[in-house]
């Protein structure tokens, strides 16, 4: 609303004019514009990241192939040649693995008509815990569940399985062997949306050092050969594709909490 005062001959106010305008639509389109800007920026970032992966990770295989072929040409005996052929087959397997990973990423990011249905989180959690039963027993981990029976989220079933499995297997894998692993899985409502929280007392993540790269492809922060830097990357992409969000809080030596924010 704008109010202007009309004066005559420098005397006191003669009359006031009030103009009222409905700006709802303008504000809405502004908000929409901001939203699409963020989406484009986000997509751009993912594309850049993807092209980096393609150039770096595919190149590492192709340069290995080149190097092996160079050595092959210089080889002086059949045995030596044979050893290079064996090396080549190793590169072949590694290359195949990389392409499989890349394909998985592309399929998440381009799958627009993927099935979304209301899922009962407690049921999926039960299933995941059964899958992980052996590992839970081996680690003697204590699992606490506080999932409300009415916690239903609109999500793709396969993504839900993959996400729960990833976070829970991470919580077990990165446990601190000096204490009994404890994992708390809870569901709460935040501003009307469901939030699934997975909290562990594991080794924790140095957020200052790795926070920014935590969800990056092929970013791993441990020495373990099992840690390939794909899990969190895939889960974040699956969450994004479903319109959700993942946030993390962590302290080295204390533990990590991942929060999955589902959209309605």
């Amino acid at each position: 609303m704008t109010v202007s005062t009309l004066r005559e001959n420098g005397l006191g106010p003669e009359e006031h004019v009030a103009l009222m305008e409905d700006v709802t639509e303008k504000r809405l389109s502004e908000l929409n514009l901001n939203k699409s800007y963020e989406m484009v920026m986000d997509q751009n970032k993912r594309l850049l990241n993807f092209s980096f992966i393609v150039s770096h990770n595919l190149r590492s295989h192709s340069s290995n192939i080149q190097a092996i072929l160079n050595l092959y040409e210089l080889a002086e005996s059949e045995d030596e040649k044979e050893s290079y052929v064996q090396l080549l087959s190793k590169v072949g397997a590694a290359l195949d693995r990389t392409l499989f990973d890349l394909n998985e990423v592309v399929s998440i990011q381009t799958n627009t008509d993927i099935i979304v249905e209301p899922l009962l989180v407690s049921g999926y959690l039960k299933m995941t815990l059964e899958l992980l039963q052996v590992r839970i027993q081996k680690k003697k981990a204590i699992i606490r569940q506080e999932i409300p029976g009415e916690m239903l989220v609109n999500f793709n079933p396969a993504y839900m399985e993959s996400i729960l499995f990833n976070f829970l297997s991470n919580a077990l894998r990165y446990s601190d062997h000096q204490r009994t692993p404890e994992i708390l899985i809870s569901g709460t409502r935040e501003n009307g949306n469901w939030v699934l929280e997975i909290s562990d007392n594991g080794i924790g993540i140095d957020m200052d050092r790795h926070g920014e790269q935590l969800f990056g492809m092929y970013k791993s922060f441990t020495d373990s050969p099992k840690s390939r830097g794909m899990g969190l990357f895939i889960t974040k992409n699956q969450m994004d594709a479903m319109g959700g969000r993942v946030t993390v809080e962590s302290q080295v030596g204390i533990g990590t909490t991942f929060k999955l924010h589902f959209s309605i």
């Binding site: 190149r59 590492s60 340069s63 290995n64 190097a67 160079n70 050595l71 090396l87 970013k219 830097g229």
Partner: protein, 127 residues
């Protein structure tokens, strides 16, 4: 001179390959390999520890990357530049990485993989 070389790279296939290239180049009497830059750093940070003459260092590695390795090591060994020759050896062909490497006085050179036997010979003969 008894030249020693060290390779820091997390790619285990590359480690197997470079080992053969080093043997082929027939210049170095001893070579060591680290798949974790942090382990190399733990060894090298002691100023009394004699550094190899040549270090082939990868950039993209988990936990500690190549840049961090140099930064940390040079804070323990201020004379690092004269103690060893560090060559960045990476599958990256990004100019950003090349430029970053040029900004480090401790880095003697930047090589894109693959490294040929010939190239390693040339570098080895210079040191």
């Amino acid at each position: 001179m008894n030249k020693e070389i060290c390779v820091i790279d997390d790619d285990h296939i590359y480690q197997l390959i470079i080992e053969k290239i080093i043997r082929r180049a027939a210049i170095f009497v001893k070579s060591t390999a680290y798949r974790n830059a942090g382990h190399a750093y733990q060894q090298f940070k002691d100023p009394e520890f004699p550094l190899p003459h040549l270090i082939l260092l990868d950039i993209n590695m988990p936990l500690m990357d190549g840049w961090e390795f140099i930064t940390q090591l040079s804070s323990c060994r201020p004379n690092l530049k004269n103690e060893t020759k560090i060559y960045i050896v990476t599958s990256s062909i990004a100019t950003a990485d090349k430029m970053k490497a040029a900004s480090f006085k401790e880095i003697a050179g930047f090589l894109s993989k693959p490294v040929s036997v010939q190239k390693l010979k040339e570098i080895g003969e210079q040191i």
